[in-house]
């Protein structure tokens, strides 16, 4: 079994791969950092990390020929489990509005917009640990976790879902902010499981064991 971590120059690639490899010690998967469309299309699971700006990440992803098509084949046609992390989650949106309007993968309907907390004293980016409110606690990626578990967030933009049923968890940051989203074989987390100590490793382990 292989887990393909998509390599498109995202800054936190190494962190995500290291944490997945650590979590995979228990499940036995091979974690492969790759930009090879053949490897991606054949992978049993796909992880898309990402930090930085939406458009920059989208450009990076599209700059590697065949990667988006291979991801779509594995995820949409073959139904392989997919995990998007931070901007990797945001890229699943219909559109992102960071530095202009840019189309996303349109895998989970929604829009990525600037955080506008109701309390003006709240800082942008949201940086640090926030407690998750699990909206679908029975979802397999939350195995062993409960509302109140903390994830590590660093972001200035957030995902506004078109369909409320795609929300898996949120946090309060001057209003509700999507922390985990998903449908079918797709999940995305706004926080960084690779940086969220025991909670993050548990979530990554759950993803590796998930058979949607």
């Amino acid at each position: 079994m292989t887990v393909a971590v998509i390599d498109y120059g995202a800054g936190n690639l190494k962190s995500a791969a290291k944490a997945l490899s650590h979590a995979a010690k228990a499940t036995g998967e091979d974690v492969i950092v790759t930009a090879d469309p053949d490897v991606i299309a054949r992978a049993d699971r796909i992880v898309l990390p990402g930090v930085g700006a939406f458009a920059e990440c989208k450009r990076g992803l599209e700059a590697v020929p065949g990667v988006v098509a291979a991801m779509s084949e594995a995820v949409l046609d073959k139904g392989r489990p997919f995990l998007g992390i931070c901007v990797g989650m945001q890229l699943m949106a219909t559109v992102g509005v960071e530095y202009g309007e840019h189309p996303g993968l349109d895998w989970i309907k929604g829009k990525v917009v600037k955080l506008t907390p109701s309390d003006p004293a709240l800082k942008i980016p949201q940086m640090g640990w926030n407690d998750l409110r699990l909206r679908q606690p029975q979802h397999p990626i939350f195995g062993g976790l409960a509302t109140g578990a903390h994830g590590y967030f660093v972001h200035s933009y957030h995902y506004l879902l078109d369909r409320p049923e795609d929300l898996l968890a949120d946090v309060d940051y001057g209003g509700p902010v999507a922390a985990a989203i998903g449908r079918d074989n797709l999940v995305g987390v706004q926080f960084h499981p690779e940086k969220s100590q025991a909670v993050g490793l548990a979530l990554l382990g759950n993803f590796l064991r998930w058979n949607p």
């Binding site: 800054g11 962190s15 290291k18 930090v51 980016p125 940086m127 926030n130 972001h155 969220s196 100590q197």
Partner: protein, 254 residues
């Protein structure tokens, strides 16, 4: 709700942890990777390495330390000290750092911060501001461990750095660093109130009340300390418990 952060800082020289009073009289206190693991287990919210290796020939020890730490600790890691070029940032991120802090290079060339933020993303660029209170309510940027005055107003500089794309500001009071007299709260607050990005208070922690004051009165959202944790005066757990008792929102599990 977002929790306030407690960040232990390890001063690293030639691959070893040191921490001294006002940056002199350095005392060797251990292996950075082992220290990082202890802080990870203790529930530190982030970890910062400040590399104070003077010579570039010993810089490679840092990448090795960062890489080994990132393999063992799944928590946010910021690395600073001697970051001058885009290539330095790239190497640190590739070694496993999540954020890189820029100090002197930001003072010498503010556009370097802008370029770095555009290239690597705002979220991984921390600008480290070292300031001294030169007259009451006036704060000036100093470089070279507090030896060189620059004539630059710290608050004006902080605003410019936030505009240039710094995702976070680490504000160190150089006249307090290592003194255990508490943060310079007027400095922290002046900067925190002037920018929309998060501010980390640093320099001078001697008691747990100082950590509370950094947030309450300094308006920081994170507090950094070295000596009090490092020499075992207090544990991370004691610090957080004290902050909760003072009414601050903290993350207590790990």
């Amino acid at each position: 709700m977002l929790k306030m952060r407690v960040i232990p800082c390890l001063d690293v020289k030639d691959g070893r942890v040191v921490k001294g009073v006002n940056f002199v009289n350095l005392v060797d206190a251990g292996d950075p990777v082992e220290q990082a693991k202890l802080y990870d287990a203790a529930g530190a919210d982030e970890l910062t390495f400040l590399d104070i290796t003077a010579s570039s020939e010993n810089r490679d020890t840092l990448y090795d330390v960062v890489s080994k730490t990132a393999e063992a600790c799944f928590m946010p890691l910021t690395v600073g000290g001697g970051v001058r070029k885009s290539e330095d940032i790239r190497k640190l991120l590739l070694a496993g750092a999540d954020k890189v802090s820029i100090n002197t290079a930001a003072v010498n060339d503010p556009d370097f911060v802008k370029q770095a933020a555009q290239k690597f993303g705002d979220q991984c660029i921390v600008v480290s501001i070292d300031a001294k209170e030169t007259s009451p309510g006036k704060f000036e940027i100093f470089t070279h461990g507090g030896r060189n005055p620059t004539g630059i107003d710290a608050v004006t500089f902080a605003k410019r750095m936030a505009e240039n794309g710094a995702g976070e500001l680490l504000v160190t009071s150089m006249d307090r660093d290592g003194t255990k007299a508490g943060y310079n709260l007027a400095l922290t607050r002046a900067i925190a109130d002037a920018v929309t990005v998060p501010v980390i208070a640093s320099g001078g922690v001697g008691s747990l009340d100082d950590l509370v004051a950094g947030i309450r009165e300094g308006h920081a959202t994170a507090v950094l300390a070295a000596s009090i944790f490092h020499f075992g005066t207090f544990t991370i757990g004691q610090a957080k418990a004290h902050m909760v008792k003072a009414g601050l929102e903290m993350r207590l599990e790990r």
